[in-house]
């Protein structure tokens, strides 16, 4: 295929380490003992659980419904019983828990009824809905709901559809193997996306270190008589970044403030395309994905893994070597260390790497920045990492934004080349999440202010209304009473306007006080009740006592009551007054 290639600035060439995991074909991972399916596996709204504990679910059954447009559904990866819907450790660098559906497989692996659909016979909106409800998200690692990317911009005609098979991360081979073994399904899937977007040209970018994948894709394209261009792109990390690949293939540069659709180009991962095809043409939602299991293990290989499989059970398949001391999710450049192997495989889990001190030697201590500029040379987004570092480190977040920290894709090239071994990306992640959290706080403060002002306005209005009502009522009463003194014909007419005011005053003085006393009485009663309740609950340790002990306690209580009933009562009273005094003074 003849296509002009455009370069991107920067990038590095780390050792690829891809060979070990491509020796064997994709294996089917066996059913795990238990599945922990997190409900929130995508960017955007968290799906709501649709099953209850104890329910029997079928393979592919919807267990979490998409919440809003930018969200994607979650399905049961196999048939079985829902054991619990609870917080379970997430596949996240923090190791914090997330709401997950725990399913115990019944071993039958029984599918829900599936219907095959042809996207050409359906309205585009319907296809997007199907994709959302099948849980199709970006499987390259970002897990952005794909249907939300499939709406072409109105003003700009969609020129190019870029299919990302570059897979530039070292160690990772899941897309490589997928293209080798299931090229035809990918090519068929591309048609869905192309038709939805109305793209004029389809470019499949694959790094030139994967000749097998390129030839497999070329064959599939020829066999299906499509006009897609399979383009071998030079192997250079991060050629597989969406923005980098778009730039290499089309020469268009997507700024941080814009979406790629606004430039008439869109990019999808090959695995995403594959799952979209399975969802439409086979009615199979996203319940599994291909995961590269590699690194310091006996048998590196790609496995098709059910989502929710605990990582520990998957890793056991590869037989980790004895000196393995940590596991990474994602590649060595952008991935993170898994804090807890109980975490499940999720849609974003493309690769698990067993690490050992020999494979990933501890980085030397961080040294001061010498402003050599090596990081700026390799930055694929042409940022100045040394400046970003300087300001992130000093927590000067305004300046980091001036230096476009949000254009940073955290590819890790800068940290890779830094001669001072500064973990630059960690500083950038820190700065970014600080900025986000401040933004959230600011929004919360603005919302609180708005609510406070609304409340003040409402209170003022209510007070005004109340005053008006009272005045009206008083006036009404005054006019009612008026005939009486008039008939008596004793009072001069000048007194008349005075009377209603007095009446209003007396009404105001008496009427609130009456319900007040009633309310106070009920509150006092309720307080007593609440106190009694609390006291009744308090002595927990006396519940499981022997009869002798109980008798002893009763005797002591009786003696105490006989000895000093007065001080005890006084004490209680004092304690009461103390608490009631304490509260307003607090």
């Amino acid at each position: 295929m003849l296509a002009q290639l455009f370069g991107f600035k920067g990038g590095v060439k780390p050792q690829t380490n891809k060979a070990p995991s491509v020796q064997l074909p994709i294996g089917q991972a066996p059913l795990p003992s238990c599945l922990f399916v997190p409900l929130h596996q995508n960017i955007g709204g968290a799906p709501n659980p649709l099953v209850v504990v104890g329910e029997h679910v079928l393979k592919g059954q919807l267990i979490g419904g998409a919440d809003g447009w930018v969200s994607a559904a979650v399905h049961a990866p196999t048939s079985g019983t829902v054991l619990a819907i609870e917080e379970h450790v997430a596949a996240h660098p923090s190791g914090l828990p997330t709401l997950s559906v725990v399913i115990e497989p019944d071993g039958r692996d029984q599918w829900i009824p599936r219907t095959a659909l042809d996207h050409r016979s359906l309205a585009p909106e319907r296809v997007r809905e199907i994709l959302r409800d099948a849980g199709v998200v970006g499987l390259g690692g970002a897990a952005f709901p794909s249907h939300a990317k499939l709406t072409p911009a109105r003003a700009v005609p969609m020129q190019d559809l870029v299919i990302n098979g570059a897979e530039c991360e070292p160690f990772m081979t899941c897309d490589d193997l997928l293209m080798r073994e299931r090229a035809e399904e990918i090519v068929r899937g591309i048609a869905i996306f192309r038709d939805l977007l109305g793209a004029k040209r389809v470019l499949i970018g694959i790094e030139d270190n994967k000749p097998e994948a390129i030839s497999a894709m070329n064959k599939a394209v020829l066999r299906l008589a499509e006009d897609y261009a399979v383009v071998a792109v030079p192997t250079r990390y991060p050629a597989g970044g969406a923005k980098q690949l778009i730039r290499v293939l089309t020469g268009k540069e997507v700024p941080a403030s814009k979406r790629s659709t606004e430039l008439g180009v869109q990019c999808f991962n090959v695995a995403t395309v594959y799952t979209a095809y399975r969802a439409l043409a086979h009615g199979e939602p996203v319940i599994s994905r291909i995961v590269t299991l590699t690194g310091n293990i006996e048998q590196p290989r790609n496995w098709e893994v059910r989502l929710g499989t605990p990582m520990r059970e998957l890793i056991a398949l590869g037989r980790p070597k004895a000196d393995t001391d940590r596991y990474l999710m994602g590649g060595p450049m952008m991935g993170f260390e898994i804090p807890d192997l109980a975490a499940p495989v999720v849609k974003a889990t493309n690769c698990l790497i067993a690490g050992s001190p020999a494979l990933f030697p501890a980085s030397p201590p961080e040294m001061p920045c010498i402003r050599c500029g090596a990081c700026a040379e390799v930055c694929p987004h042409e940022l100045q990492p040394f400046e970003l570092y300087w300001f992130s480190r000093a927590r000067n977040f305004g300046k980091t934004q001036e230096y476009h920290i949000f254009d940073c894709i955290e590819c890790g090239c800068c940290s890779y080349v830094c001669p001072s071994h500064i973990p630059l990306v960690q500083y950038f992640r820190f700065a970014k999440s600080e900025i986000w959290s401040r933004e959230r706080e600011k929004q919360a403060a603005d919302a609180a202010k708005a609510r406070f002002e609304l409340r003040n306005a409402r209170e003022e209005r209510e007070q005004a209304e109340k005053a008006e009502r009272l005045a009206k009522a008083a006036a009404a009463r005054g006019s009612e009473r008026k005939p009486a003194p008039a008939s008596a014909a004793v009072l001069p007419p000048t007194v008349e306007p005075v009377q209603p005011v007095a009446a209003a005053e007396s009404a105001e003085a008496v009427s609130p006080s009456d319900p007040d006393t009633v309310r106070k009485a009920t509150i006092v009663a309720a307080m007593e009740r609440a106190r009694a309740q609390r006291e009744a609950v308090k002595p927990r340790n006396t519940e499981q006592l022997t009869v002798e002990q109980k008798n002893e306690i009763a005797a002591i209580e009786a003696r105490r009551a006989a000895l000093k009933p007065e001080p005890a009562a006084a004490q209680g009273g004092r304690a009461d007054s103390a608490t009631s005094q304490e509260r307003p003074g607090e």
Binding site: L96, E366, K432, S433, K449, F452
Partner: protein
Amino acid sequence: MITALAIMALGAVVLGAALGYASIRFKVEGDPLVEKIEAILPQTQCGQCGYPGCKPYAAAISAGEADINLCPPGGMDGVRKLADLLGREVKALEAEEKPKQVAIIDEATCIGCTLCIQACPVDAIVGAAKQMHTIIEPLCTGCELCIKPCPVECIHMLPITENLDNWKWKYPVIEIKRAA
């Protein structure tokens, strides 16, 4: 001597007249500084500064009546920002800095007296008379104003725990062990 006095007096009169005229002619309403200060305050409306809300406190700071270190929810960070804006020295916070909290109503103890609803400055408590009340957590600013009015002491403050939505990447730390 008299010429000197006359000339200085003349100068004073001329300049004074010019300034006086200008102050009337070029009078400007409003104080934009108050708004800037208010934007920094956390809007908890808690009154811990001794002013009934964030805006009055902002006005007091702007007028020079209040110090900038009276806002515990804003924390040292807020003090620093105020110092930056106003060109004043950074001072230690008057009160103790607390972690962010939300109020929680013990629903079994609540008697439905509506006192806390009346106390809440941001309408973050829902409930009706004699019905159980509850706090809308995302709206709660943690001002603690609802704790005092509760007659049955069923409201307490819980620190906001870390979850996946508010989790932050930590500041990179150099391990001393390794460097040694």
